[in-house]
């Protein structure tokens, strides 16, 4: 069920300490939103979880087992950019994981195996709302569609952990609201622990079950190198969201956001000027 434990993890690049004494337990099926100022080490934290970077000190375990030191199919990922393959169509992108798993040498599927994988991929593509675009290349999709594609591509591997590094940072508010709905549904329906880095507070609190903030307590230039960021806040959302629990009928505030309906709660504070 994938409980992730960080046990006093430090990360240094050369002389620069990026993260200090991170100790943290992420419950199975949690949706952790990770926030913090630019450069504080959020991406570095994700990279360690991915296995791309090793901690300088301390240990990371998943279900008690030390983390494999390389990215693998148990952990899916979506980045802000470059998450999909520009040379593959939508279908090709989603199929890729299946093909890699099934055919170690050719990395391609044929005949019945391909048809089965294709059906699964098509279902997933429809689920993220890309039905009809199967034969398009990523460059022909909008930013929001590309990120949905990246999600579908990661989810077809049924990873235990899904890591998202500012996946929606480059999107329009309207598109972002759509994708939030999708994200929530997927999290409810799939057996997933999610760790998402975001710059957007609203997003963190809309989606997360838990919001974690990193901060550098000492951030004067001359101190930068000697001190890293710490885990400075850790808030559980209340009342708790529970994965798989039936979606309440009250629509999410975010889903309503369309450019001008926003007015109400934003006009108020600005009237002070």
């Amino acid at each position: 069920m994938s409980e992730i434990v960080f046990d006093n993890v430090w990360k240094e690049y050369g002389d620069q300490i990026v993260l200090e004494k991170i100790s943290l337990t992420i419950a199975p099926r949690a949706f952790v939103a990770l926030v913090g100022p630019s450069g504080c080490g959020k991406t570095t934290f994700l990279k360690m979880l991915l296995g791309e970077e090793a901690p300088t000190q301390g240990q990371i375990t998943i279900d008690g087992v030390p983390l494999v030191a390389e990215p693998g199919p148990d952990r899916g990922v979506v980045f802000q950019r470059y998450s999909v393959f520009p040379h593959l169509t939508v279908l090709g992108n989603v199929l890729l994981g299946k093909e890699l798993r099934a055919a170690p040498v050719t990395a391609r599927l044929f005949g019945a195996a391909r048809r089965a994988a294709r059906d699964e991929a098509m279902a997933l593509i429809a689920e993220v709302g890309l039905a009809g675009s199967e034969d398009k290349y990523p460059a022909q999709l909008s930013g929001g569609m590309q990120q949905r594609l990246a999600l579908a591509q990661a989810l077809i591997m049924r990873p235990k952990v899904l890591l998202l590094d500012e996946p929606f940072g480059a999107l329009d508010p309207g598109i972002r609201a759509d994708i939030h709905v999708l994200m929530k549904r997927l999290w409810h329906e799939t057996e997933l622990t999610v760790v998402m880095v975001t710059h957007d507070m609203r997003e963190a609190f809309t989606l997360g079950t838990r919001v974690i903030a990193f901060e550098r307590p000492r951030d004067r230039p001359e101190e930068r190198e000697r001190y890293g960021a710490l885990l400075s806040r850790d808030i559980d959302i209340w009342p708790p969201r529970i994965a798989g629990a039936p979606l309440s009928n009250t629509p999410d505030q975010d889903d309503l956001v369309t450019p001008l309906d926003h007015g109400q709660d934003d006009l108020a504070p600005t009237q002070g000027v």
Binding site: L50, E52, E70, P71, G72, P73, R75, G76, V77, F79, R81, Y82, S83, V84, F85, P86, H87, L88, L96, G97, E99, L100, R101, P104, V105, T106, A107, Y137, P138, A139, Q140, A150, Q153, A154, M157, P159
Partner: protein, 271 residues
């Protein structure tokens, strides 16, 4: 309006495009007339009519010795050599470039060596090449490959390294092995660049082909140019040079079309 913002219309554009070519021909014609009026048997800048005669002789009258149409057999021989050599270079560059670009061990091993090799002037090593590889087609092809492949390898290796790290990571999270990453992620993305890299090497490839044919051959465009150079037969050399240029320009254009046709996504990105 600033000059940087002024754009010629389509008609003006065509005229501007043709102007330098027309000027070149005109300048040639004047130069030729001036020299020929001094010395009617001058061979350096033959009259256009003389060149037409020469083209006619080379292209449409069979050679007394071999019975072949010289221009066509020369073209065939040269293009044959060129295409084998470029095919080989492309293959070598693809394999080596991918290995150097993807695997840090291979990169440590080969990158400095290839960078050094690419600075060796191949013409100076011709004798060795001919002796090691014999005088047949092999040595000529090898000269082109040696002259062209190092630059292509470096270019491709660089492009492989420029692939966003995120893509490799993503592939790894999809369970890809090194081999699978090479096959499904790196290779297809590098192929369009391979074609572009090949286009950039067309000029040098012709150069080496001509140099090789100058030394030992019994047909080929470069062979003919060097053979008749002893007689300063510019009436043959000019058309041959123009023909080589035309072939190169066409190849260049055709390769680009090929890239767009085979890898449509590679043009979408450039938007």
């Amino acid at each position: 309006m600033r000059w940087i913002n002024r754009k010629p219309g389509p008609g003006v554009r065509t005229m501007l495009m043709l102007a330098p070519f027309v000027l070149l021909v005109l300048a040639y014609g004047l130069g030729s007339m001036a020299r020929l009026s001094d010395n009617p048997s001058d061979k350096l800048l033959p009259a256009l009519g003389t060149m037409v005669d020469a083209i006619n002789r080379m292209a449409f009258v069979p050679d007394v010795r071999t019975g072949e149409y010289v221009l066509w057999s020369d073209t065939g021989a040269s293009l044959g050599r060129l295409s084998i050599a470029l095919g080989l270079s492309t293959l070598i560059a693809l394999v080596t470039g991918m290995l150097v670009g993807m695997l840090p061990y291979v990169r440590a091993l080969l990158a400095p060596f290839i960078a050094t090799i690419s600075m060796v002037p191949p013409l100076a090593l011709l004798p060795i090449l001919f002796i090691v590889l014999g005088l047949g087609e092999t040595a000529k092809i090898a000269l082109i490959v040696i002259g062209v492949a190092p630059a292509m390898i470096r270019d491709l290796a660089l492009r492989v390294q420029e692939l966003p790290r995120e893509q490799i990571t993503k592939a790894e999270t999809l369970g890809a092995s090194s081999w699978q990453i090479a096959l499904r992620v790196v290779l297809p993305q590098i192929l369009p660049r391979l074609i572009t890299s090949l286009r950039l090497q067309l000029g040098p490839a012709w150069l080496f082909l001509i140099a090789a044919e100058a030394i030992s051959a019994d047909s080929g465009l470069g062979y003919r140019i060097f053979l008749v150079r002893r007689y300063l037969s510019m009436d043959v050399i000019f058309p041959y040079v123009a023909w080589i240029t035309l072939l190169a320009v066409i190849t260049n254009f055709a390769l680009d079309r090929l890239r767009i046709a085979v890898f449509p996504w590679s043009n979408l990105e450039a938007r």
